[in-house]
């Protein structure tokens, strides 16, 4: 069903919607000028800005550099958050004692929006990459922990009892029962984490950065250069979209049993 005729037709619908938006954009800004170019750039201007940033560069780098740098930071922060958050969340889900120990810290940290950590991160680590990775890590960490915790808790108790009476213990229990059982919710957490990563990264780069898509946005704002702002926004959208798609692929691939 999913790979039959539905997939191409969905692509076609998506493509035509996108094309329609571009046409409307052209009509509104260039043809009729309902939206004055001071507020929103025309497609031609955006194309021009795109050419400028890819060839000559803008805000101390070419688009590729900004794009890859931002992706790299998100990946680092995300990986660190997942690598630490998923095991911690699973441990809390499994052991009441671990939960009792760690949960109070979480109750304290959870209401603090990740963006509120940016100033402290800058004070600690300056305007470089380390501060950004720290903030991204923090943004992704909380959803990763909470959903892994919920994932382990969502496993039917009779499945764990079945495992115990089959003699499954230790690493085998974690790897082959708890982890796959928690996986659907773990992925929910990862999707939330990834979104939070991008939000936080752009915010952190807006405040201060040397390269990165957020830095492009910041510079273009200072220069009153709407076309470049739009290029930066499209860059963020594409980077976020690519990573979300990759995560979706990974999810489908790692849970062949999971019917949706």
């Amino acid at each position: 069903m999913r790979n039959g005729w539905r997939e191409p037709s969905r692509l076609a619908v998506g493509g035509s919607t996108l094309a329609a938006v571009v046409v409307l954009w052209y009509l509104a800004t260039t043809f009729t000028q309902i939206i004055p170019p001071v507020y929103f750039p025309t497609p031609a201007e955006v194309l021009q800005a795109f050419r400028q940033i890819t060839v000559q560069g803008y805000a101390d780098g070419q688009l590729q550099q900004h794009f890859l740098h931002s992706c790299w930071l998100v990946l680092m922060g995300f990986a660190a958050a997942v690598g630490l958050g998923v095991p911690l969340g699973m441990l809390m889900g499994w052991s009441r004692r671990a939960e009792a120990l760690i949960n109070p810290v979480f109750l304290l940290l959870r209401p603090i929006p990740p963006l509120a950590w940016i100033p402290l991160a800058i004070v600690w680590l300056g305007l470089g990459d380390a501060a950004k990775v720290l903030v991204i890590w923090f943004a992704a960490f909380v959803p990763a922990v909470i959903n892994s915790y919920a994932g382990v808790r969502s496993i039917e108790p009779y499945l764990i009892e079945a495992a115990r009476s089959l003699g499954i213990r230790g690493a085998m229990l974690v790897r082959e029962v708890l982890f796959p059982g928690a996986l659907p919710l773990i992925f929910t957490g990862l999707r939330l984490s990834l979104q939070a990563c991008w939000t936080t990264l752009v915010a952190a780069e807006l405040i201060g950065a040397i390269v990165g898509l957020g830095h492009v946005l910041y510079q273009a704002g200072l220069d009153l250069f709407p076309a470049m702002i739009v290029v930066g926004m499209i860059g963020v959208a594409i980077a976020g979209g690519l990573m979300t798609t990759a995560l979706g692929r990974l999810e489908a691939w790692s849970m062949p049993w999971h019917r949706r």
């Binding site: 079945a162 495992a163 009476s165 499954i168 999971h258």
Partner: protein, 265 residues
């Protein structure tokens, strides 16, 4: 092979600060390679008894021993078939059946041989690499039964294994279980609320009373089955047509009904 002895077993739960006796003073034995079924109204403590034999729950008073040793937890000598099948959704049919063998660190060749045998016996050929959700309920329960038998346990504990199957599938599974019990006899504690199922499958039927669960009566079916040659029939319905079968069934029905009315008064 091992026997199971329940000796003056009681299990109390605390619920909202109130003490609730789920089972009280239960004593009976499942002898070596005997098939014993417990019947009783829902909530009378059947599952609680089985869980105590499985080592998933423990008595408040009295003792449960398997093969002469008190039960201290789950063990490879006992395996459990749950009403909800309890298959691992992320494992294929073969992986589910093989799981306990891997945990026991059996060599690959032996695992292959044993899994293959039970795939054949339970009619699972062709479904080896299916995931549980791709199978019907009856097929899923075959996998669960295979997963228990393949471990070659001394004792099998089954908690309403056919309870969620439709009537036709249920009958087929009952026949399969009888066949399996003949091929490889085991000590079986089988829980059901279906009286016919109990009489058809069991050597003895333990009738439990409404809460707190106690033993009402123990009925020797094996003797009647032998004397009346039920085994000459291949099909459930032919056995159920025997006058001796109807007689036993009605007797157990009456026992359960009496409790019901006593309870309502």
């Amino acid at each position: 092979m091992s026997n199971i002895i329940f000796d003056r077993v009681a299990r109390h739960f605390r619920r909202n600060g109130v003490d609730l006796a789920a089972v009280d003073g239960v004593s009976f034995e499942v002898r070596k390679s005997e098939f014993v079924a417990i019947v009783g109204p829902s909530g009378c403590g059947k599952t609680t008894c089985l869980r105590m034999a499985a080592g998933l729950d423990f008595p408040t008073a009295g003792s449960v021993t398997v093969g002469g040793k008190p039960v201290t937890g789950p063990g490879p000598d006992r395996s459990v078939v749950f009403q909800q099948f309890a298959l691992f959704p992320w494992k294929t049919v073969v992986e589910n059946i093989d799981f306990g063998l891997r945990a026991a660190r059996l060599p690959l060749t032996e695992r292959r041989e044993r899994v293959g045998r039970y795939v054949d016996l339970m009619g699972l050929k062709g479904h080896e690499s299916a995931f549980p959700h791709q199978l019907s309920g009856g097929m899923q329960q075959r996998v669960a039964i295979a997963r228990s038998y393949v471990l070659d346990p001394d004792v099998l504990l089954m908690d309403e294994p056919f309870g969620s199957l439709d009537a036709q599938t249920r009958v087929v599974m009952q026949e399969e279980l009888i066949k399996l019990a003949r091929v490889s006899p085991r000590t079986v504690l089988f829980i059901t609320h279906a009286v016919e199922e109990a009489v058809y499958l069991a050597d003895r039927v333990v009738v439990m009373t409404r809460r707190p669960g106690r033993i009402g009566e123990i009925i020797d079916v094996a003797k009647v089955r032998m004397d009346e040659h039920w085994d000459r029939h291949e099909r459930v319905e032919d056995v159920m047509d025997e006058a001796s079968f109807v007689h036993l069934r009605t007797h157990i029905w009456r026992l359960l009904r009496e409790q019901q009315s006593r309870n309502e008064q």
